[in-house]
């Protein structure tokens, strides 16, 4: 039975990262809570101080890991750009100059200019803004909604679990891009649509993970005790069980964040996110790639490299965190 359940999880979660998938197959128990903070529940004073010590050790391990530092520096650079780039970018990213279109990289325009004469370098710097806002928000929406759905599915079980499970299967049998098409037709392209699409799909994936964790918690004594005390279902789910499944939820959030950047960059490339003229890496690539055949490669290549660097940074950080926390 374990194998079937396991494959169910893998089959219906195309968004499952390879790391999770591998871990799931080699160690079926691993989709259950991973004790991140050295144990949850029933903590006394002694445990508190040891938890703090472990946290400090983790932090110093992280700060000595080269992958974490490299990833952190790149991410920090893009965060600074997202917040302040409009102040230090060499040109106004929206300033068109029709006398100076499609010029190759030069001393004046490091990354060249695009078909409207806008400075590509400035657009790349300022373009960090949208994805660094949309990706964490979408992941947060997905995590919160997914945790709630997963708690309900796992706690109640039975027909609620069955109906939700079938719905999740049906939606997850479509690639994110296709699900997004349906949303886009309904809601029109915007950052909000992106957040809702990604949040929706992530919620379903995260709900599965949380459900599995809750199924195990449900059988434990503290839940039985709460039931005997005549606590309501809502109280048991969110006050008793939630704190004990918070670890896998946090892990899910960090893993999903990298995937969100992948998905959001892709969807903005398909025209589902921020609309021009606002600078955005995916949208800028969508608007310039048709000039690739004409040889104006700089307009497309530099935003593409920006996307790549952000994804590499997030993955380096995620990798080093996993190496430190999940030994």
């Amino acid at each position: 039975m374990a194998t079937e359940d396991l494959r169910d999880t893998l089959v219906a979660a195309p968004g499952l990262t390879s790391v999770e998938a591998e871990r799931a197959l080699t160690d079926p128990g691993s989709l259950a809570p991973v004790p991140l903070t050295g144990g949850t529940g029933g903590a006394g004073g002694a445990l508190d101080s040891s938890v703090r010590r472990i946290r400090r050790e983790h932090l110093s391990l992280l700060l000595h890991s080269p992958t974490f530092i490299v990833g952190g520096v790149i991410l920090l650079f893009w965060i600074v750009c997202a917040v302040f780039a409009s102040h230090f970018a060499p040109y106004n990213p929206l300033a068109q100059n029709l006398l100076n279109i499609n010029t190759a990289p030069s001393a004046a325009h490091w990354f060249g200019t695009d078909a409207l004469g806008e400075d590509v370098f400035s657009r790349v710097l300022v373009g960090a803004h949208s994805i660094l806002i949309v990706a964490p928000l979408a992941t947060l929406v997905g995590t919160v909604a997914g945790a709630a759905i997963g708690l309900v599915m796992g706690y109640f079980g039975g027909w609620i679990d069955n109906i939700f499970g079938r719905l999740v299967d049906a939606v997850l049998s479509l690639p994110v891009q296709i699900t997004a098409f349906i949303f886009i037709v309904a809601l029109g392209p915007s950052s909000l649509t992106l957040i809702l699409v990604i949040g929706f799909v992530f919620a379903l994936i995260i709900a599965r993970t949380v459900r599995t964790a809750v199924l195990q918690e449900r059988e434990l004594d503290y839940v039985a005790a709460a039931k005997l005390r005549d606590e309501g279902a809502l109280h048991i789910m969110f006050v008793e069980i939630l704190p004990n499944v918070i670890a896998p939820i946090v892990v899910e959030f960090t893993v999903r964040l990298g995937y969100a950047i992948f998905a959001i960059a892709t969807l903005s490339f398909l025209g589902f996110g921020i609309q021009p003229p606002t600078p955005d890496w995916g949208a800028d690539i969508a608007n310039t790639y048709q000039y690739l055949a004409a040889g104006y490669w700089w307009e497309t290549l530099f935003p593409a490299i920006a996307v790549a660097s952000l994804i590499v940074a997030v993955n380096l950080i995620g990798d080093s965190m996993e190496a430190v926390f999940v030994q």
Binding site: E4, R7, S18, I182, L292, W297
Partner: protein, 317 residues
């Protein structure tokens, strides 16, 4: 085994029906007025009403769904709003183009990634393993349009060795066609490589650590024989499942790659249908993708069952 497969088949059919309901209602209810969408904001209300009546979209939704669903069972997918022609006359050629692309991607990636994963596992912890694992992971996290653009800039614009865009001239030989498809296929291969290689690596490492491999080694079998007869057979089992489930991902990747390379496949067809609010086309296309995905996972189940004696002989659970 028969009962187990029957159960899986039944579940797949139920999932598909739920999917058709979701697609239909999302496509029909949310955007409001198809007649208005087709005729534009300046058409007379009477014309819009007349068109809505002809399209049958002024009837109750459940009746509409039933007409659509029974039509599907008879092979009628409806008429495209955009081209005023049967959806199927666009869907099938596009599906064919996409299958060509997907097939080429699998032909390249499956042997390559299994080989990579097994080599990494046999050298676990050494430099070769690190290089294969890290490269695979980095490549699989790169969106297809990012790697696609870098490849176009290098191979089509810089070195001028591969053609871009991906439309081979009509009646081209297979070699020419493959040459045209190479650039769009590589980004798909990149993403798939990481996933499959990781599974192959994990499966191989698990098999290497097992008792039966230790027994085989201790009874003096040559390492080569141990690997071929005992390790590979067991390690490739989970890999097969992963390959099949990656079809779902692959279709999503096709949307991006077909758009970037201006290739007339199913992904681009659905993409333009979504942009032009061509609901019959969108609904049919999305449903076809759902069918392809569920068939692939079902196929994976069958393969897994056939290859895994524990399920084959042990019954359903």
């Amino acid at each position: 085994m028969g009962r187990y497969l029957l159960k899986r088949l039944l579940l797949a059919v139920i999932t598909l029906i739920i999917l058709s309901v979701i697609i239909f209602f999302a496509g029909q209810v949310l955007p409001g007025n198809p007649g208005r969408a087709i005729l534009g904001p300046f058409a007379a209300q009477s014309a819009v009403n007349a068109l809505n009546h002809t399209l049958g979209v002024d009837r109750p939704l459940v009746a509409q769904y039933w007409t659509w669903f029974t039509g599907l069972l008879h092979g009628h997918m409806g008429t495209s709003y955009q081209f005023h022609a049967p959806v199927s006359s666009f869907l099938y050629p596009a599906l064919g183009h996409s299958l060509k692309l997907a097939l080429l991607a699998f032909i390249i990636v499956v042997p390559l990634s299994i080989l990579g994963g097994v080599i990494a596992a046999l050298n676990q912890g050494r430099a070769v393993d690190r290089i294969i694992s890290v490269t695979g992971l980095s490549l699989s996290t790169m969106p297809e349009f990012v790697s696609g653009i870098v490849l176009i800039v290098i191979f089509a614009i810089g070195l001028k060795v591969l053609p871009y865009p991906a439309n081979a001239p009509g009646g081209a030989s297979i070699v020419t066609q493959v040459r045209y498809l190479l650039l769009p296929v590589i980004p798909l291969v990149f993403v798939l490589f990481g996933y499959i290689a990781r599974m192959a690596r994990a499966g191989t490492i698990e098999a290497l650590a097992s008792d039966y491999v230790r027994t085989a080694t201790l009874k003096g079998l040559p390492r080569r024989t141990v690997i071929r007869r005992h390790v590979l057979r067991n390690s490739l089992l989970p890999t097969i499942t992963v390959i099949a489930t990656q079809t779902g991902y692959l279709i999503g990747g096709l949307v991006v790659v077909e758009t970037l390379f201006n290739y007339p496949g199913l992904g681009r067809l659905i993409y333009t249908a979504a942009q032009d609010k061509d609901f019959p086309m969108l609904e049919a296309g999305v449903l076809v993708i759902g069918i392809v995905y569920l068939t692939a996972t079902l196929l994976a189940d069958v393969l897994y069952t056939v290859l895994n004696p524990r399920i084959r002989l042990g019954g359903a659970e």
